[in-house]
Symmetry: C2
Subunit: 484 residues, 2 copies
Amino acid sequence: MKAIDETLNKAQVAFLSYKNFPGKKKAEFLRTVADEIEALGTLVSTAMRETNLPEARIINERGRTTGHCRMFADLVEEGSWVDARVDTALPNRMPAPKPDIRKMLVPVGPVVVFGAANFPLAYSTAGGDTASALAAGCPVIVKAHPAHLETSKLVAGAIEKAAIKTGMPSGVFQHVYGEGFETGQALVKHPLTKAVGFTGSLAGGKALFDLANQRPEPIPVFAEMSSINPVILLPETLSRDAAKTAGALAASITLGVGQFCTNPGLIIAIDDETLQSFIAALSTEIQKALPAAMLHQGIADNYSKKLAQALAQKGVKAEGQSSAQGNPAQGTPLVASVPAEIFLQNPALSEEVFGPFSLIVKCRNMDELHKVINRGHGQLTSTIIGDETEISRHKALLNVLIEKAGRLIINGVPTGVEVCPSQMHGGPYPSTTDSRFTAVGADAIKRFVRPVSFQNFPDSLLPDELKEANPLGIWRVYNGEFKK
Amino acid sequence: MKAIDETLNKAQVAFLSYKNFPGKKKAEFLRTVADEIEALGTLVSTAMRETNLPEARIINERGRTTGHCRMFADLVEEGSWVDARVDTALPNRMPAPKPDIRKMLVPVGPVVVFGAANFPLAYSTAGGDTASALAAGCPVIVKAHPAHLETSKLVAGAIEKAAIKTGMPSGVFQHVYGEGFETGQALVKHPLTKAVGFTGSLAGGKALFDLANQRPEPIPVFAEMSSINPVILLPETLSRDAAKTAGALAASITLGVGQFCTNPGLIIAIDDETLQSFIAALSTEIQKALPAAMLHQGIADNYSKKLAQALAQKGVKAEGQSSAQGNPAQGTPLVASVPAEIFLQNPALSEEVFGPFSLIVKCRNMDELHKVINRGHGQLTSTIIGDETEISRHKALLNVLIEKAGRLIINGVPTGVEVCPSQMHGGPYPSTTDSRFTAVGADAIKRFVRPVSFQNFPDSLLPDELKEANPLGIWRVYNGEFKK
């Protein structure tokens, strides 16, 4: 594809200068991106129209988007994120002298970003992937999401304006359109593309991952894909709090019409009287919840189909359903239950149903609950509802859960992803393609950088981060010691 | 394969306890591994017999192996390597309270290690992959290298003895034999295997990488594979130092019969009178170098074959060759030259010739030299011979070189890889399968760990690294600030 070739060549030319821009300049760019997004008059209404999401949610998401642009600006302006290590020479060491070696993280090159349908702002054109890649020093090519093309164009315009205002090289950010798979495939296959960020379905993410690995030069793909976010209810704690827990979970299941990657799609508990009251309370809450328009017709159709498939499985019983009748563009909240014995035999029941649905797995005892946990795939999150004393008695459970998820939550809900240094939004396959990285928070920048060592360099030829006098005043490991 | 299944199940059982061992205990284990290796009476003679490497080299390599075991012991005993981040709760934040979130690195699970033929100790059974994975908290399964099986058995015995002495769980380390590919493939394909470390050929590493990516659950493979480590000679500097540079390069080319992943296999320079004197001086040095036995007959045969292929290419001229006649088990030092114009047209000339060989690419001018650099694949190292003033005039060259290698060296040789925090032994494909990680130095541990967030955890249920009082006294990012 000639157009794609031009796009990547432009990105590469931009890269060769942009990568050397000081943190201060990149920070100015990212902060101006935030300002320009805030200055877009029609952004909220356009995004509302294209995604059916309510105003408050879009405004909140805009805040999150400008927030992470400013967070990455702060990060690169401060500068310690490059993980600088300095080991000075020992010219008289025996049997051989030790050379001076210094190391820091540098950007990998042009990054291709595929945004998410369910976050038209925060995980899309100026989303976490774009912001972290730009912060790292990588030019970004965004493949516009066809479900919110106008929103994407507005945000792309804001980024382009900010790039011009702050003197960034042309090609530091490019916005590419194209229906179907060809454009995306051509972007991932282009030899100048050095990494890919993706948020979406398991099928889509896995296809890009495979494509990237089959290139003559394989490149890393960070795809955030599929997670059903199990919530484990410990029986004693539940017996005290069944109604409160049911209320919190109902709100989490139905939040944003269930269209969150951290939606709690699986509830695992011991089948006793307490669980019966919990199910009754949860069902009551779900009955009160209203159907609402999903992001687009394709997602609504997919939800209906997957929901019908789940309910058609042997042993699955619908427990509570919104009492209002939804139209075909809407997602109707529903919770169902299934005995653990049957759940364990049917892998289809572990698949994500993207929407306001959750399946309660009823275990006869803790042994069976352990089996359900052990059988689980990788997840973005796992939650335990239990007090300190009760969890302490089930440490073996915690010990296994940690192997299955990127974030563990006690007495909370998985929805709501804080943007902060301690955030891990990622997890073992299939929740992402590489459990060693996060898509949210400052460490998201690590996906798009690689270390380079400089051996025996004269001080004047070293990057500022590694110069002997530490002119940027960043934290470094200097001869084994953390210091500024 | 039933035996492999038993091996991985044993590793997984070990993992569920070993991963929770405090750094102090893991450090004790790793230091005892070093002690037990030093106590092996027949290790040096066995390794010499199996690899044809001289005594001094084996003793040096043993020191390096015990050295990195003790380095990783220090690292995990000190404990800051887990990159702990703590963000405390803001219960009154509007519009929503901020939960307490804390994050640290945890081990990925059982790791399969394939050692290198050319480093029977330092990159093999107790090599950098094994030591870093054990330090991370991952059980290790080593597939013994058939070319130094007895050496591998001795070292495995030392590790097993150390594991028993220090009370490690059975299965924390396992040594697996097996000729052919089946055993290795079965190890990589087993669902309980969570990562792979490999050092060897491009074909071997790529095959394992593909296998790992085709699993139902893809897993990361860090394969260090193929590098020709270009050395660029800047003309003015060379005109002052041609003989000295020739001497240093000849020593690097022939060191260990050229059997180093950092062997300088490509020399790139401007074709002028200075280069002619350099080639004459280098040829004289190479003529004086003696053929020597290679690691095994397969490697010697491969060297002869690849060397003959390189010399048969159009435009390639043998410049200097050892004046002594080698036998078929030996590698004969040789340097050749080729005009850049021809080099640029023939990709075969960029392939690694594993042995004491280097190809001089003669460029008509700096433009052509830039073209040669631009065309280059990913490398472990790139070297520039040039003084500060001359390199300053060619910063564009440095700007591109950094994209092609993990380590840049000025006025040195690529052979000799320091084990220190600032070391990056890795690089863009095909030198490794993931340029974001190093195989040498403290950061090698990062290949085998992943972050996990703990949200809203009572202090008693947090790992010690994340407890509020910081009982381990490690460096952490606490509410955005680096502190102990």
